[in-house]
């Protein structure tokens, strides 16, 4: 059909177009302005709230971070070009009062079609090659390290089993959701689920892996030596039931020597028989506390200052682990009770505390908190 202008045949339609076209042109500029303002706002948002992952802390995370920056740069480039073309067309080609004749009726252009098929093909091929290389590094499992940990996920808790160097024996089990790893040494992590699908996710690792029942996923990582002493937040990333959002954990990186000392101490502690569940001394205050549906039944407790007392803690959540820990106003832990699975009960002897306001919290579920007032 070619690029020949075609005269509009309807006079009345021309007339109505002439009357409203000025207004439409203004609307066109308004819309273009709005789009530009919206884009500027998006950029402001992007600047104010980082559109980049958190600072990576493992070798794998550095790899992924590098790939993200590469892919993101291409994405921004493509967005700016295509959005630029759209905005240009919107600003430039609003219908003018003089536009009574039809614009050139261009039906297409085969050369252009080939160009915008081939160029994106090259771009995605490059992106694929880079991400494929990166994937091979991220997913590499050398299986030569002696630091072997198994994360065990269940509704709604994490525990960590420290395995022997051959991976056959469990040396000790950490019931609290705190994983301790040596910085600078490769860690081999395997994942096991006791019920539904969960996902092990540490944002600063830029990594997650599903914890699938009936299947043991493994991966390896090395925390940067410079991050020894740091603690990283982690949580379940796959919907696993009602209290999915409470399934938090932390990863603590120690210097290798500190890790070895820590591990030896933990193994030694696990060998000893667990301390008998204490009971309250006569005449001593015993506070009652209950955990049900991953919540404490009380938001506040009160105790006398400078006197020992005890907390009788009832865990009503079947096969869910809880405990009671007490933190002072600076966040320092002053007491940590034994973690145990429900349904069961323990009586924790609490040492004398100075007057003040404390927080009691479940070490397994950090969102279970309350206030302990000592006076």
């Amino acid at each position: 059909m070619g690029a020949v202008p075609i005269r509009s045949s309807s006079l009345t339609r021309e007339g109505s177009c002439l009357m409203s076209s000025n207004r439409l042109r203004i609307v066109g500029f308004a819309v273009a302005g709005l789009v530009v303002v919206a884009l500027l706002a998006l950029m402001a948002v992007a600047g104010a709230f980082r559109l980049f992952p958190p600072t990576p802390v493992t070798d794998r995370a550095h790899e992924i971070d590098g790939l993200y920056h590469f892919v993101f740069a291409i994405a921004v480039g493509v967005f700016v070009i295509v959005e630029g073309l759209i905005i240009f067309a919107v600003v430039r080609y609003g219908r003018k009062p003089t536009d009574t004749e039809l614009p050139p009726q261009v039906h297409g252009n085969n050369l252009l079609e080939i160009v915008w098929t081939v160029v994106p093909t090259i771009i995605v091929a490059v992106m694929f090659v880079f991400s494929f290389n990166s994937l091979n590094k991220v997913d590499a499992v050398a299986n030569t390290t002696d630091v072997r940990i198994r994360a065990v996920a269940a509704q709604f808790q994490w525990s960590f089993e420290y395995l022997s160097a051959d991976g056959q024996q469990v040396q000790f089990e950490q019931l609290a959701p705190e994983m301790t790893v040596p910085a600078g040494r490769p860690v081999h992590l395997s994942l096991r689920s006791r019920d539904v699908i969960h996902a092990f996710y540490v944002p600063k690792f830029l990594f997650k892996r599903d914890v699938v029942p009936g299947r043991e996923n493994v991966f390896e990582f090395t925390v940067d030596p410079a991050d020894a002493g740091q603690t990283f937040r982690g949580q379940c990333a796959e919907l696993c039931g009602t209290f999915h959002g409470s399934m938090l954990f932390t990863v603590k990186a120690l210097a290798p020597a500190d890790y070895d000392t820590w591990l030896a101490a933990q193994i030694e502690k696990a060998r000893q028989s667990p301390p008998p569940a204490g009971s309250a001394a006569p005449g001593q205050l015993e506070l009652q506390l209950e955990a049900k549906d991953v919540k404490f039944d009380k938001a506040t407790l009160e105790a006398p200052a400078d006197k020992p007392f005890s907390i009788k803690f009832q865990n009503d959540d079947p096969s869910v682990a809880h405990n009671v820990a007490i933190h002072d106003s600076t966040g320092q832990e002053v007491f940590k009770g034994e973690i145990f699975q429900g349904v069961d009960v323990r009586t924790y002897p609490i040492p004398p505390l100075k007057a003040g306001s404390y927080t009691f919290v479940c070490s397994v579920h950090p969102n279970m908190t309350g206030t302990l007032t000592v006076k």
């Binding site: 066109g28 819309v31 709005l34 790939l67 299947r215 919907l239 959002g245």
Partner: protein, 540 residues
């Protein structure tokens, strides 16, 4: 143009309620689809606002965790299965027979049956709230969480509801395919069909091939839950990842089911308001077919972190699907180029679609890079991505189509001023809600959590997203107001208010039963344009 109706036998004594309940007219069924879908849109939207209110601040303030999980599960299920998919089927129902010059769909009674399954399914899924808790395992209902051990009766109601919707889709797809292949008017060759008809054709093929797979998966899950089956629960010898494979084998093509007809609607709106033909018609047809075909080979990109799929293959196919999508993007932009743009509300929504879908498409390509997906999967980043595709894309497309075809359906034009207010509120609200979610996800906020720590650094962005959610709601109030004022005193539209290109503009508004008593000559994909401009001997 055509105004004389062929009078159907014995309509005089029927009440109009009886007429609507028993109609087999594709236009009335189309309107029933639209009304039902919008009702579902507002229910699911209210659930989304409840989720946003809970997330506005850390801690649990408004919804307890169990209700929260029901709210986001039913929000997504209703939006996907009872709003987007049916409303696009509704537009297809109303518009496609008109566009190809047919008097009705091929099987009018099956058409009515397809529709009436939907309100029934909606009732089943929503009554979960009254029976001790609606489905709460997410719209993806991953086993074993969706098994009887972990989920209650609401899950069974959800399964039966979704099976009904799937059956409705399959019947609708057969109907569309037969209509398009067998009932085109003389001269309406395949390559003269409007792109909208092509997208419905490809969508129907996807529905026909993919939906039975979902239906079997749902039946297997139902057997697991109620009759001691062992398909998906590893505790009894099943395979948890199997559910994800069969579910996504349907649900990834379903993403294209949810967006292709919206692309078709945009492809009708952009040429009309640019006064130019669609740039690269055939490239567009091939790109649509290409997306449909590739759509079946990318399902496992939802499963990169399971450790149970062959990553390079699915990564490569996912990158590939960006190419036909890119071709469409460039063709739409080239349609605007050197046109004469009239910024009426349908075009505004179409431009909104282009911009938002561009972002949704690009961040889809970002997460096709598997290691990057390891960081982003199941975080708010993915929530942002899917809403840029399905809300920024499909829903903006739906509103473009609604403002465009409303005059044809009801004989009156929606108010332009209120329409523009609606667009501006929705555009700003949408970006306020969903853009910050990219940053939230990168910062490590997982999806589907009711609660987050106050010191996680997510407070401001979540509050911003909630404010955005209410801005969208304000936009919806403007939309409802627009419908209200238009019903009372809308400007009469006439047969062809926009100088349209396709056959629906060659009949009266609304069209009579059986649509046409006279058709213009069909010599190109724009028969009404040809007739208006006396091209190729068209006209009368």
């Amino acid at each position: 143009m055509a105004t004389t109706a062929l009078t159907p036998a014995a309509t005089g004594t029927r009440s109009s309620l009886y007429e609507w309940l028993t109609t087999t007219d594709h236009k009335k069924i189309g309107i029933l689809y639209l009304v039902n879908s919008f009702l579902m849109f507002f229910i699911a939207g209210a659930l989304a606002l409840m989720v946003r209110v809970e997330l506005a601040a850390p801690g649990i303030q408004f919804l307890k965790e169990d209700v929260y999980n029901q709210a986001f599960t039913i929000h997504a299920s209703v939006m996907i299965f009872l709003f987007i998919i049916p409303i696009l089927a509704g537009f297809g129902n109303y518009i496609v027979p008109l566009m190809i010059g047919a008097p009705d769909m091929a099987f009018p009674r099956i058409n009515a049956l397809s529709f009436w399954m939907l309100p029934l399914a909606a009732i089943l899924i929503l009554t979960g709230f009254l029976t001790g808790g609606a489905a709460a395992a997410g719209w993806t209902s991953y086993a074993p969480l969706s098994e009887a051990k972990y989920s209650g009766t609401g899950q069974d109601l959800w399964i039966v509801g979704v099976i009904l919707i799937g059956t409705s889709s399959i019947l609708g797809a057969i109907n569309f395919l037969v209509t398009i292949f067998k009932m085109r008017a003389p001269g309406m060759t395949m390559f003269r069909m409007p792109i909208m008809a092509w997208t419905v054709l490809v969508t129907s093929t996807l529905v026909l091939l993919a939906t039975p797979v979902l239906t079997s998966a749902l039946i297997m899950l139902f057997i697991d839950r109620n009759y001691g089956g062992h398909f998906f629960d590893p505790a009894s010898g099943g395979n948890a990842v199997l559910w994800q494979n069969v579910f996504w084998f349907y649900s990834h093509p379903a993403v294209y089911i949810m967006v292709l007809p919206a692309m078709g609607m945009i492809s009708e709106v952009l040429p009309v308001f640019s006064r130019k033909p669609l740039f690269g018609y055939k490239a567009f047809v091939f790109a649509t077919a290409g997306i449909g075909a590739l759509g079946f080979s990318v399902w496992a990109h939802h499963m990169f972190t399971t450790g149970a799929v062959y990553l390079p293959f699915f990564s490569f196919m996912t990158f590939l699907i960006a190419i036909p999508t890119g071709v469409k993007m460039f063709n739409w932009t080239a349609t605007l180029y050197r046109g004469q743009l009239t910024f009426a509300t349908p075009l505004l929504f179409a431009l909104g679609f282009l911009t938002m879908f561009l972002i949704g498409g690009i961040n889809g390509a970002i997460s096709a890079a598997v290691p990057v997906d390891f960081a982003l999967h199941d975080t708010y980043w993915v929530v942002a991505h899917l809403h840029y595709v399905l809300f920024g894309g499909s829903v903006f497309g739906v509103f473009a189509g609604l403002y465009y075809w409303y005059p044809k359906m009801f004989g009156r034009k929606l108010n332009e001023t209120v329409g523009k207010i609606h667009f501006v509120l929705m555009f700003i609200g949408f970006n306020l809600t969903f853009f910050p979610m990219h940053a939230l996800g990168l910062a490590g906020m997982p999806r589907r959590i009711a609660n987050y720590a106050p010191d996680a650094g997510w407070n401001d962005l979540n509050l911003l997203a909630t404010i955005g959610g209410f801005t969208i709601a304000a936009g919806m109030v403007a939309f409802l107001w627009n419908i209200f004022v238009t019903m009372r005193s809308g400007e009469p539209a006439g047969d062809d208010p926009w100088e349209g290109n396709t056959l629906e503009w060659a009949t009266s508004s609304p069209p009579p039963p059986y649509n046409f008593d006279h058709l213009p000559e069909i010599r190109s994909e724009r028969p009404v344009f040809d007739a208006r401009h006396k091209l190729s001997g068209g006209g009368h």
